[in-house]
């Protein structure tokens, strides 16, 4: 017997938890735009169905979450998956994504005489070039995010999150470029990529 399909708000909440592995209602509210009390009810329902586990403030996705999300996505985004213009933008994203990963590496490592050494951020000019490139790449996402947004408004939160992170970087908080624990440019991009793959029903190819 197939599991009941996920309602939209359930998809949004469960998807966020799955992307982040672990999320609090506050974070989920920031990302999805749903009000906190509604999120609480949805999490309880998802827990009842065995898709998340609630542990104190945080919710974790179970191994049943991703298959359920995949199935729901195939229905929710069926029309989106046929949109040729959007699919062209997705093809462009693959190129941009590769450049993004290279740029991210350039942020973290500098080439010294052929050897890769961790960037100690003592060369402001070098750092600035990398950040300028990152900003250009994030700008390239705009068209794709907008196209996705035509089908589902929640994608707009990615633009907001990027803007917040980049503003933080410009204010001197350079850890927001690639920090593993903050809402860094790298993390937002990665989540977006996973979200995009789920939306399209595709697998990641590393």
């Amino acid at each position: 017997m197939t599991a009941p399909a996920l309602a939209k708000s359930e998809y949004d909440v469960c998807n966020t938890v799955a992307l982040k592995r672990m999320a609090t209602p506050t974070t989920i509210a920031q990302v999805t735009g749903h009000p906190a009390d509604e999120i609480d009810n949805v999490l309880d329902e998802l827990a009842r169905r065995g898709l998340v586990v609630r542990a104190g403030e945080a919710s974790l996705a179970t191994s049943d979450a991703v298959p359920a999300l995949a199935q729901a996505a195939s229905q929710l985004y069926a029309e989106l998956r046929e949109d040729q213009h959007l699919l062209e933008l997705v093809d462009r994203f693959d190129i941009v994504n590769k450049q993004f990963l290279v740029t991210m590496s350039a942020w973290q490592q500098v080439d010294i005489g052929g050897r890769k050494v961790l960037n100690d951020h003592s060369d402001a000019d070098y750092d600035e070039k990398v950040i300028a490139k990152l900003i250009k790449l994030v700008d390239r996402l705009d068209a794709l995010v907008a196209a996705l947004g035509e089908y589902d408004r929640r994608f707009g939160s990615y633009s907001q999150r990027f803007a917040t992170a980049l503003y933080g970087v410009d204010s001197g908080r350079t850890e927001l470029v690639s920090s593993a624990v903050d809402d860094s440019v790298h993390n937002i991009w990665h989540e977006f990529h996973e979200d995009l793959l789920r939306t399209l029903g595709r697998e990641r190819s590393e």
């Binding site: 010294i112 890769k116 590393e206």
Partner: protein, 839 residues
């Protein structure tokens, strides 16, 4: 406005005529080029449009009157100097236009190259080089750059690139240019309403204006707001003639370092690619060759000579970008070379030794962070060699984040976390990682993935955590159900020891011993020795075991500070220790006498091996401190309803506790055969009455032990002069700086470096500074209120990483004895050396 007036107003000046010191008018780049030109170096000629002109532009939101004429006049002079002509043949001149602010900041315009292309110039260029394809490449690059940088277009070069790829060197130049330019404009039309000017003079003015405008991009304004840089400084524009490394076989471009930037070894180190421009190398189309092989002998000789002279005059190892145009060497850029931490240390020591640098200068060439990197233990090279011979190198992947670690194999993030919680060192091996694995990756000391390259998720996350990581180890097969990792014929079970080298990508079976790298014990030791002498300070390490004592001394410490409860805990006798303390406070029971003796025995047993390891070097024993993490067990209800630890915060409340420790340490001194006395420091003291009692308790141990207070509170620091024994020679009074600093903020002493959310708080500027990185003004006031003569006798304990500002302040106030974690001994020695030479 006449041109003379413009000149007097200083809107434009050639490299030859500019005052290199006027960075505020010329910008950093402009000033640098002026200096190099006037020093006689062969730099492509050019001129600087000053920040004054920019200010005029920003004020009136239009090009100042007369500026265009002035630019073209200067351009003519440039044509004469270079023997080339702008906008036509026979030898067309192309320009680069770059921004150059007095203060480096983000958001400024990128460089535009190959400006000056119109049909005439393009045709002349093709004829001059007999290569229409070369001309087409230059034209397409210029058009794309101008479009992207000045017109803010998106670059979609595919159609243009395809066209250029099929141009041959002998195609008709004029026709090719026409078709190419039309194609570029068509492509541009799709994303932008403007077009690239066909007239070179208009191109130049457009570029200059774009530089001026870039002063006010959102990013530049945000940066200035945050750093308090005035918005009315303006930026300069550097216009320079281009030289070409790709016009002939006896042309080329390259980069050279005046010494090896990886190891610091003397000797020119760099690459050169004949018949190429810089961008060709970056694009990876062709591979350059080492300069020594690829350069013509005369050019190599000139470059070698220049390198040595520049290194001497700049006092540093340099990175020189150069172009050879028809056998003539031109310098494009000379900068301080980026280098590895090992190279930094070696270079500083070498330049000091050969007299190029004074000690003050040499110490500035190495940072505290580089010292920390260089001293990090690495695999014993003999062990690695043996591992290879024994076949214990399982596989080699791609090194994604440097670090050499040994640990136990774990195969999923949850197992990594539980392994770490049990006090072991997990090395996480996965087929591939995803954001869901993050918590496990954080808990691990090393990461291995079977897939992925140096830009993969695992690589990026590992680097952000600075965790050793190997990716793309394609031979490993992970079986999560069997809990094994198989490589070739070898099966490793979860929990077995493995090691990895995140720089080379090697994965080893079993653990590998580590040793301090030669770079730390060699060149660095010499440098720090000189620093230490200059600073005239004693730096003690902090140790709780014999090996730790040895580590401290090897690092260059002149002695050790031993915290009693830490040594007892490392010896595995903490429970016993706490029991005796509880007994001593049990006023109803009969145990006190027994407990005192037992406690003294325990302390003696614990201290003897440490004192033996310390030999005759300085030793400070710090009496048990109930506020430390080791003794938090004591914070529970005890007999009589009063918690034991609270009573211990009153250090003289139960004198027997002090006596027992004094007994134990004195016996350890005797047993170890040590001749030199040991200093016994008691924390949480703030009153002269307390210190009187302490001295009484210590009288039986005169000659063996010296006692003193450690101030850990504002009261203690305020009364410091009175706490210090001015009579006794060799008396020490200690200050736990960060305990006082945390207390000033109202935080628990042990929390200052672990305070949740403090990073964010500080970066938002909510504390006007960072209490971990500098001495708070409130604390400074307290310290400087202490009589200078007493300050010169004061000893200070620091925790966590040494902050240069803190070391410098303390040194300035006269402090000459410090205690830090063993890993921070070398960084502190460097910081103190540098503090000596601060103004």
């Amino acid at each position: 406005m006449t041109l003379d007036l413009m000149a007097r107003q200083g809107s434009i000046v050639a490299f030859d005529d500019a005052d290199p010191a006027a960075v505020d008018r010329l910008g950093g780049k402009g000033a640098g080029l002026a200096q190099m030109t006037q020093a006689g170096l062969r730099v492509p000629p050019g001129f600087v449009i000053t920040t004054e002109a920019c200010r005029h532009y920003l004020e009136r939101k239009a090009m100042p009157d007369g500026l265009a004429e002035q630019i073209f006049a200067e351009l003519e002079a440039l044509e004469q100097r270079s023997g080339k002509s702008f906008g036509h043949g026979p030898a067309p001149m192309l320009l680069s236009v770059r921004s150059g602010a007095p203060v480096s900041m983000p958001g400024m315009m990128d460089t535009i190259l190959n400006l000056g292309m119109n049909r005439d110039a393009a045709v002349a260029l093709a004829e001059q080089t007999s290569d229409t394809r070369f001309m087409a490449q230059l034209v397409s690059r210029f058009h794309a750059m101008y479009a992207e940088i000045v017109l803010d277009a998106l670059d979609e070069p595919d159609a243009v690139q395809q066209f250029v790829n099929q141009v041959t060197p002998t195609d008709p130049a004029g026709d090719t240019f026409d078709r190419l330019w039309r194609l570029c404009e068509e492509e541009l039309d799709q994303s932008c309403s403007e077009s690239v000017p066909a007239d070179p003079h208009a191109q130049l003015l457009g570029a200059v204006e774009a530089v001026f405008r870039s002063w006010n991009t959102r990013r530049a304004r945000t940066y200035r707001d945050h750093h308090g840089v005035p918005h009315d400084l303006g930026t300069a524009v550097v216009v320079q003639a281009m030289v070409f490394g790709n016009v002939s076989d006896d042309s080329g471009s390259g980069v050279v370092f005046t010494r090896n930037p990886v190891t610091g070894e003397p000797g020119l180190f760099g690459e050169y690619l004949a018949a190429s421009q810089g961008e060709d190398v970056v694009a990876g189309i062709r591979t350059p060759a080492p300069v020594a092989q690829a350069l013509a002998p005369a050019v190599l000789a000139e470059l070698t000579h220049l390198a040595a002279a520049l290194e001497k005059s700049q006092g540093d190892v340099l990175d020189i970008e150069f172009t050879v145009e028809r056998s003539t060497l031109y310098l494009l850029q000379v900068r301080s070379a980026k280098r590895t931490p090992e190279a930094a240390v070696r270079i500083a020591a070498d330049l000091l030794a050969d007299g190029t640098l004074t000690l003050a200068q040499a110490l500035k060439r190495v940072s505290l962070q580089q010292v920390r990197q260089v001293q990090r233990p690495g695999f014993d090279t003999d062990e690695v060699a043996a591992a290879h011979v024994d076949g214990r190198c399982l596989t080699t992947g791609t090194g994604a984040c440097p670090g050499q670690v040994s640990g136990v194999l774990v195969l999923d993030p949850d197992r990594a976390m539980s392994t770490a919680a049990a006090g072991e060192r997990p090395v996480l091996a996965r087929a591939i990682t995803s954001p869901a694995d993050l918590h496990g990756m954080i808990a691990s000391v090393g990461i291995v993935t079977a897939t992925g390259g140096s830009t993969s998720h695992a690589a990026v996350v590992a680097r952000s955590l600075a965790t050793a990581c190997v990716v793309g180890a394609s031979e490993i097969i992970i079986d999560e159900s069997a809990r094994t990792m198989t490589v070739g014929g070898c099966t490793v079970r979860e929990g077995d020891p493995i090691s990895l080298d995140g720089a080379t990508g090697e994965v080893f079976l079993g653990a590998l011993n580590t040793a301090t790298p030669a770079a730390a014990t060699g060149a660095l030791a010499e440098l720090l020795d000189r620093a230490s002498s200059a600073a005239g300070a004693a730096v003690l390490g902090r140790a709780a075991t014999s090996p730790a004592v040895q580590d401290a001394l090897t690092s260059g410490a002149s002695g050790v500070l031993i915290p009693v409860e830490a040594a007892v805990a490392k010896g595995g006798r903490l429970d016993e220790f706490e029991q005796y303390l509880a007994d001593l406070h049990d006023t109803d029971g009969a145990s006190p006498a027994h407990a005192r003796g037992a406690l003294a025995d325990l302390v003696a047993d614990t201290m003897t091996p440490l004192l033996t390891a310390a030999g005759e070097t300085e030793v400070v024993v710090r009496a048990l401190d109930p506020s430390t993490d080791e003794l938090t067990d004591l914070w529970g209800p005890g007999p009589n309803g009063a918690t034991l630890a609270q009573r211990l915060l009153l250090p003289l409340a139960v004198p027997t506790v002090i006596q027992a420790q004094l007994d134990g340490v004195a016996r350890a001194v005797a047993t170890s055969g040590r001749h030199r006395s040991v200093h016994f420091s008691v924390g949480h003291i703030s009153d002269t009455a307390e210190i009187e009692v302490l001295r009484d308790l210590a009288r039986p141990y005169d000659g063996v032990l010296l006692v003193g207070a450690e101030a850990t509170s504002v009261r203690g620091l305020t009364n410091l002069a009175m706490l210090h024994d001015h009579e006794a020679s060799g008396a020490q009074t200690w200050l736990d700086l960060y305990a006082v600093q945390a207390g000033i903020f109202g935080w628990p002493a042990t929390r200052l470096f672990a305070l949740e959310g403090l990073d964010d708080y500080v970066s938002r500027g909510l504390l006007h500074g960072d209490p971990r990185a500098s001495v708070d003004p409130c604390v400074s006031a307290l310290v400087t209120a202490v009589d200078e003569a007493v300050r010169r006798q004061l000893s200070v304990q620091l925790t966590s990483e040494v902050a240069p500002a803190v070391a410098a302040a303390l040194h300035r106030w006269g402090v000459r004895r410090f205690a830090v974690d063993n890993d921070e001994v070398r960084p502190l020695l460097l910081a103190l050396g540098r503090a000596v030479f601060r103004d």
